[in-house]
Symmetry: C2
Subunit: 238 residues, 2 copies
């Protein structure tokens, strides 16, 4: 066992809550469950054993994987899984992340997207690893129930899924979010944390601005994406 690297075929769900999410929402990808010697006997462990048995997922006892994979002191369970890709839904709404660079941010956006019922995520490379254990953790397991597909360029995404309402979020956007009525199916498109979307997106769909006071330079990326998700799906959650 080695430290996780992006080129590996497998990644890890750190902690028992995440491991349950893995077994529940991506059972065919679960390879193995590691249990630390400090893991307490009890209902959770019994439930986990039963679930692993029914899914035919082997359990392994020992502390070594934890020293290698986890920095957290209270992580006593790790789920190993094979990485996967699920094609996006053609007629569902999407979130599109263009060159995202932070694993925690990507995971948080996955969590919000799942929360607002947008279950398809397109990632335009270069991008941070959607299966990095940090991404998985920040997603609180949402990574296991979203459809996630990566693309080499926005053009590639557009060619496959572009026949829809495209909303790039930009400081130069012509529409303000509070005034906009979204049409479905939509794609909410967000740029990199530091640089935003390139100007080429001025020619894509309807540019949207989240207006804010001049006391801050910008909202942070997962905040902006989550506000957009809330606004775009408000009619579904009244």
């Amino acid at each position: 066992m080695k430290r996780y690297r992006r080129e590996d075929d497998n990644s890890y769900a750190l902690g028992i809550t995440l491991t349950f999410e893995l077994l529940k929402y991506a059972p065919d990808r679960a390879k193995r469950v590691y249990i630390h010697s400090k893991m307490q006997d009890g209902e959770s462990l019994e439930k986990l054993k039963a679930l692993c048995k029914s899914l035919n997922v082997p359990m392994e006892y020992g502390d070594k994987p934890f020293n290698i994979l986890s920095q957290k002191e209270n992580c006593f369970c790790i789920g190993e899984f094979e990485k996967f890709s699920r094609p996006l839904s053609k007629d569902g709404s999407h979130v599109v992340l263009h060159n995202p660079s932070n694993a925690g941010n990507m995971g948080t956006i996955m969590r919000s997207a799942a929360g607002f019922g947008v279950t398809d995520l397109a990632i335009i490379k270069p991008a941070v690893d959607e299966f990095d254990p940090k991404t998985v953790r920040a997603s609180m397991g949402a990574v296991f129930h979203l459809n996630i597909q990566t693309f080499d360029s926005f053009e590639d995404y557009s060619r496959e899924y572009g026949d829809r309402n495209l909303y790039p979020f930009m400081l130069k956007g012509r529409e303000t979010l509070s005034n906009l009525k979204f049409k479905k199916p939509f794609s909410l498109i967000f740029g990199n944390e530091a640089t935003g979307l390139p100007d080429s997106f001025l020619n894509v769909g309807t540019g949207v601005l989240i207006s804010h006071s001049d006391r801050i330079d910008s909202l942070n990326l997962p905040i902006a994406a989550s506000i957009a998700l809330f606004a775009a799906t408000a009619d579904d959650f009244r």
Copy 2:
């Protein structure tokens, strides 16, 4: 010089951007600016020197404070400041954080609050330190232009500022956010990251629910607070 502790009178803005925010928005609290030997000469440093001179803030050169105060490799400037408290505005709208436990989350909420023009923050103890360097950093400097006041209990806050529209955000809230028309001045009230608001808030003002799908247990706290801030101030940013 020692590591920062909560009981200290002074705290630190790590990095040059934050130090500028300090000098700009809380100049009377700035005590000293530390410069690392790797700080590059150039426009920024000249501007910083001029500003410190005009504000009578001493500059100190040397690497020692950086070894003690900063874990980041690219932090070459630190602003030391005296902690302060500014009373809240009686007729402005507020964010109220009840027992928040994470410095990064608190800072992110400060940034969003400043972004949506809600410049008053009440913190109900026990709570994480609003001047922890981690809070300061996550706030991107918003901590220097908000009015922030801490209270021993919600009753204490209520006694001083309670004559307003109170909106506790709870899973048991009766109104859904998408349907609610906020009345000003308002207080948006949020509970602890793990436990939310206690049931006693069911008797306070108008309880609000941010509806979401059952694919997630909850939204993360700064996301929920920022969505609420966006919705409550939408009319100001059309």
